[in-house]
Amino acid sequence: MEGWGIIIIKIVFIWTWTLLIATLMTWIERRGAGLIQDRLGPNRAGPFGIFQPLADGIKLFTKEDIVPEKAHKILFALGPILFALPAFSAYAVVPFGDKIVLGGKEIILQVADVSVGFLYIVAIGSMSVYGIVLGGWGSNNKYSILGGLRSTAQLISYEVPWGLALLAAVLLYGTFSLRDMAFAQQGVFLGFLPNWGIFKQPLGFILFMVAAYAEANRVPFDLPEAESEIVAGYHTEYGSMRLGLYLFGEYVNIYTLSALIVTLYFGAWNLPYVDMSKFLGPVAYGLASFLVFFLKVAFFLWLFVWVRWTVPRFRYDQVMGLGWKSLIPLALINLFITALFVQFTA
């Protein structure tokens, strides 16, 4: 077992890393928008505008913290905290690489490899709805309340297909530990395909992906903050760092969801057909597994940006109809197929 020193270093490292990537994502999103819409995007602060997130951060820190007179003081203050806390903490059980050996000590590249890591993700993922609802209600603003109500119905509706898609993955791998799931995806499947979850769970992957976009409040499911209808939804009244926590928490959520997609369906740190641990030294292997994992996550981060600037927003009844009439029946059918598959391969 690892000592406290290593655990604290790991916590600080991965915590800072997720927030750094989330910060960079705000820049990538705006540059990506520029790329897709054939314009420049932010390009003043530093080369290619790379210091834009820093400038935004300084601006948010030095803004006046306005609390509306009519707002419920406690709930208004509690909203952003309750939203950001689960968002920032969800990565604790997701791996970010295999393991690295330093000075004879084996360090696994994951903060906490608990046996029920999966349940932790599901539990803490559904906590963020409280932040949105309480913030929206506490603002005492019509737009905020409408945004809060929309997001309640949407988040709980898409949690069911999300949970059912995860259930099929648990059924396939037979474990709740995300690290064991990554190990289960080594080698080849049917003799020529990489042994990744996507080839055994194609339907589950699509369901998980769609539900993940809805859970992260991203386009085409960004109805809680649809700017053309309800101004900014639940964070209309928020300013300064309280708003910053809402915006920032969303990007951290995107990073965690991308890492989950990679861990469950895209072989985590495993490369297809190549076993890196055979010909790389222990330190190089650790770094390589971290890099491979991160490159896969980076693709899905880019996909979030890509979809945002490509797809139009749904109408509200379309969102609910898609969730209940398509995704949940499909998720239940996917569960059947997976059970059959496991039955035949057991």
């Binding site: 009519k70 906490a112 603003n141 737009y143 309340i145 259930l167 099929a168 059924l171 239940l332």
Partner: protein, 121 residues
Amino acid sequence: MMSGFETIVMYLGMSLFVILAMLGISAMLGPFRPKPRKRTTYECGVPLIHPGQKRYEIKYYLVAVLFLVFDLETVLIYPLAVRYRALAHYGWGIFFEVFIFVAVLLAGLIYAIKKRAIEWD
């Protein structure tokens, strides 16, 4: 001996600490010049007609009830799913148990859709 849960608690503690620090620094760095006009509720610049927290007709309230049922059922299948591969060695019994469970769930969902529980009007 650490089971890993202490680490998660530390992680949560760090998140809470940084969030509170961010809010605290922001409160210290920002100016504080409250004015009555500044603190009014935002409504596109016009005077407030009635308070925001009035009674709303909540569409889709049945969805919340359905969510409770379906989420509970999902949670009930989790322990079964994690042991499924081991139990599948004993034959098809476990498959039919899952089949009946999920089929009842699916029938309930179809019933709810037919009863127009998730329609706008």
